[in-house]
């Protein structure tokens, strides 16, 4: 009743509708801006970072924050701010790639599983259950142990443990969307299986996937940092945030800024992705009226 009053004049597309609602989420908008800024600083690191991230400054070892080195220097006299900016390249790449890989694989598995049901569903879902049964970090350690340490393998490891959650999420959505009248209507027209899945079911499942991907990005960055921290991820000279934490651990109490600033970087990034995810959920979840 009020809907018929509200819709007048301009055509509203689902995308426009999403943007209209998302814009009202001030905090999520801010989080989105933070992420854009982080990504931009990572991309343009060579021009933004004040120093070479691996150039030592032997005059300033373990210096606290100064006007010259805004976040201080580490045990080799490397500028921590520059390392964080460069490290953002590693962390964000790991986050985006692992979520993209795991998300795509999970979405495909979930869609196929939910749509066809039966034996395919049982086999795929038991497989996912096996993966889900391991605590994420243990699974990642296992994968890295098999593939060997290194940042590429960290991406695969994190992707693997993202797959089952995406698969579960999409399978659930597929099961309920499969029952909607518009999917039945499409069936009654004779629309083929692939078109049913890709045109009628997948778009309906995507809002959930997008929201979850955003939350998952935070978790993935955190996991990558953890793996680096225990020496299974990025190798020492690399300015990865977890590796920086690991380096700084020996100087806790002597030079706290070694762990403080990379920690803040991780915290801010993960928080921003989570806030963004919540905002996306509020903007996307609401049914089109």
């Amino acid at each position: 009743m009020s809907a018929s009053v509200a819709i007048s004049g301009a055509i509203r597309t689902p995308l426009g509708e999403f943007w209209r609602r998302f814009r009202r989420q001030r905090l999520a908008m801010f989080a989105g801006l933070v992420i854009v800024a982080l990504a931009a600083s990572a991309v343009f690191a060579p021009w933004i970072a004040p120093f070479d991230p691996s150039a030592p400054d032997y005059d300033n070892l373990l210096d606290g924050p100064t006007l010259l080195h805004l976040c201080g220097t580490d045990a080799y006299g490397r500028d921590i701010l520059s390392r964080i900016i460069w490290g953002g390249r590693v962390s964000l790449t790991v986050g985006f790639l692992s979520v993209a890989l795991g998300g795509v694989a999970g979405v495909v598995i979930g869609l196929v599983s939910g749509f066809f049901g039966g034996l395919i569903d049982s086999v795929l879902m038991r497989l996912m259950d096996v993966l889900l049964a391991f605590p994420g970090i243990v699974l990642a350690i296992g994968v890295v142990a098999v593939l060997g340490p290194g940042i590429d393998n960290v991406i695969y490891a994190i992707a693997v443990f993202s797959v089952p959650v995406f698969a579960r999420l999409v399978r659930g959505n597929t099961l309920s969307l499969k029952q909607t009248l518009y999917v039945q209507a499409a069936r009654s027209i004779g629309v083929g299986k692939s078109a049913l899945m890709l045109r009628h079911i997948l778009p309906g499942a995507m809002p959930g996937v997008i929201v979850y991907a955003s939350l998952r990005l935070g978790t993935s960055i955190l996991t990558a940092a953890s793996l680096s921290f225990i020496g299974l991820g990025a190798r020492p000279p690399s300015p990865e945030w977890g590796a920086m934490l690991s380096d700084g651990r020996s100087f806790l109490g002597v030079a706290d800024h070694l762990t403080l600033f990379p920690g803040i970087a991780i915290f801010v990034t993960v928080l921003a992705f989570n806030v963004l995810g919540d905002g996306l959920r509020d903007a996307l979840d609401q049914k089109l009226r």
Partner: protein
Amino acid sequence: MTPLLDITDLTVAFATDGAPVTVIHGLDLAVASGETVALVGESGSGKSVTSLAITRLLDYTGGRISGGRIAYTDAQGAVQDLAAATPQTMRALRGPEIAMVFQEPMTSLNPVLRVGEQIAEAVRLHQGLDEAAALAEARRLLARVRIADPDRQLRRYPFELSGGMRQRVMIAMALSCRPRLLIADEPTTALDVTVQAQVLRLLRGLQAETGMGMIFITHDMGVVAELADRVAVMQHGRKVEDGSVGQIFAAPQHPYTRALLAAVPVLGALSGQTLPRPFDIAGTKLPPQDTVRDETPVLEITDLVTRFDVRRNFRLRGRVHAVEQVSLAVRPGETLALVGESGCGKSTTGRSVIGLETPTSGMIRLDGDDITRSTAASDRRLHREIQFVFQDPFASLNPRLTVGFSIAEPMRTHDIAHGAEAERRVHDLLAEVGLTPEHAQRYPHELSGGQRQRVCIARALASEPRLIIADEAVAALDVSIRAQVVNLMMELQRRRGLAMLFISHDMAVVERVSHRVAVMYLGQIVEIGPRQAVFTNPAHAYTARLLAAVPVPDPARRDRSLDLDDSEVPSPLRALSDPPIVRPLIEIGPDHFVARHSVGGRY
């Protein structure tokens, strides 16, 4: 004497992104004790908002009373202005003074609490009785709303009850505190006609016993004629006419009231005619629908059986016999109506034809060719030549696709047209169903209910089918829109020689559209024959019961149905060892067949 409720100059507004939208403009309405006032209007006319304003449940929906006075005289004789009452005052009034019954009895009952506990809770809160006394009172209330075996029903959960029973439970809850004003918001809209008749009679009886005032919100003029003392007609948030029920029906003053009454399908309007005829809209008389061609039936179903297994703990516990040995045929240009109440298997029959359900046995022929065995080729043909129109047009359109895309989908799927050619055809189809090419760019949520159903019909026509299965296709539409859509379907039938399987529970609409009628009961066809024969001379007890329950939009004929059959329709769920008996159909007139078997214990 001061009236129980006296609304003067009520204005209600809802907050939106921009300026607040006023949905009720200066409404005046009065209700006396023992009086039933029907609030009539189409969707969006503000009748439900009015009821929310009276109970001030409006405060929880984002709406606001922006002006006017709602004077309510309470049991002590004190007059209170509900428009200005505090939440505390309102909470004390809701229940003991003012009670509400809503449209959807399933969602207004708490699914995890037993029926008895829910009624007892209302009793405990407002009458201060202890647990045992409250339960006893709940049992008494259930008996009062004519629920058989109240002791057993008290312990059941809402999902175990039928729709009619749930609505009676809601009424029992509303009455638990002996309210002096009952507001019923479309309480029978979701119910079958025979159940609706039972609930209406119950409400009338209860009102006579308690002397409460009643506001009855409905869009169904037949129900109004059955129940109301006075009628207020609303349109776009304004009251356009107000008068006694006799006045409104005999001499409607406002053009909108007249249009509303003219659009109401009246059962028996075509009783002297063999052929169906479209509604007379705006005074134009359309010719009878002489479109039936005596050719090979487009669709022929023989002994169709569809059963659903019910499993619990991996063991087969029973079967739902949704469709049992149904045979029917539809010829080109013919409309066969499949009527019956919810759960009788009429929808399942339609869905089995197009493969949305898998038939257990039987044969389906399309133009004489057996297509029961689903192959890729037969499926293609089936999905191209038979199209389905669903009850809910909004839910059957993908909300993420434009209307044009949805209409073009059958063309793409069946390789009929692509690109610019498809676009041209979409525009033609939109014009054919009375929309404009601009609508192709819209999304379903931007259209009204009637427009959406037109889009669904356009989509159904896109593959140039020979048969359309319309499953309650007009049931969700407002009366005036319903008449338009029915006329559109009949016009398309005439123009394209379409055959139609018209699945409906609305006997008055069925009388308008159908050449032949098949009545279904518990999965079986109990009577099938020419429309005129079935309607004027129903041979089966169930057909007669169905026809008798239809509310007549004529207040003068109100008290005709005092000995209505109050029994519940039995469940189609049966034990494995207990298959239903299908009685053969006996010919009792030209093309008129009837099954001789028992209904509700009678033959």
